[in-house]
Symmetry: C2
Subunit: 173 residues, 2 copies
């Protein structure tokens, strides 16, 4: 069975992006010249995200090459009229869709975000591993990684990695 | 000038306590026989908290000795009728009160919680250092450490300490 994982940075107060959907606070944080991303992405062949997150990805891509050039990109949306080039649009329930996807052959399935997509996956206990980079910024407002939901999960700490001003926490189910 | 600090544990999804105000999820987490508390509390002579947090402290104390026996305890409340034995009750604005307290001689001033008290202190940029113990539990609901507020702060990572299943993040202004 393929694993479903979350990998991503949050502000210390738990936001994925600020109230203007900006990630400047993240890009302005010192990595010390290092990151765990290059080794992580080599183990991923499918990235899934919500429509809002994908529209942010498109904005970032305007300045350069595709962010996920070696992965299949799956975008969930309830909007039947949405269409994006080069990605798979899914209108189905994410839980049942990903349940089937896990049965196919492949590498890690990376849930990029956002909180709206993560919440039903958390409630269905579908996230196998987490890599969360804590960024030393307090934003006060924005889109939370963890929205209120009906779940209660105890994870297991696997490892902690520091690079620059980031602390990466790695947990598994 | 005395420093104002926060020291405390949160769930990975950012809650200080669950929706029933319980901390069982915290007490059930393996510390590996270690904690940073004993060395921290020796540097503290004043603990401040909101009324709701203090009422939780009273419940814990029913089973044993006083939690803060070597510290002055200050409890903020807007309720003019509230009275607790052996602690200083303050009805004044926490920001102006703590501003004056910082000018007096003494050791660290520890803001125990909760989020309602922290928010105005954060908005006034009054927290000098943070020690946050990340607990590998996702609660889904409860009282958040960081409520939405009007602040934007970049901190500096000082140190990361792991013990048992906890990861302690230490930041300063």
């Amino acid at each position: 069975m393929r694993k479903v994982v979350f990998y991503g940075a949050v502000s210390l107060d738990g936001y994925l992006s600020d109230q203007n959907n900006s990630l400047n606070w993240l890009f302005e944080t010192d990595t010390g010249g290092e990151t765990t991303y290059e080794s992580f992405i080599q183990n991923v062949d499918t990235v899934i995200m919500g429509r809002v997150t994908y529209e942010e990805v498109l904005k970032i891509q305007q300045d350069g090459e595709a962010l996920y050039s070696n992965q299949e990109v799956i975008v969930f949306t309830r909007d039947m009229d949405k269409d994006f080039k080069g990605v798979q649009i899914v209108h189905e329930n994410p839980v049942s869709f990903i349940d089937k996807l896990k049965e196919t052959d492949g590498k890690l399935i990376w849930v990029v975000g956002g909180g709206n997509l993560l919440k039903p996956l958390l409630e269905a206990d579908m996230i196998d591993e987490w890599w969360i980079q804590i960024t030393p910024v307090l934003l006060g407002k924005g889109k939370r990684l963890f929205e209120d939901g009906d779940y209660l999960r105890r994870l297991e700490l696997v490892e902690t990695t520091s690079f620059g001003q980031f602390v990466e926490l790695h947990y598994k189910k």
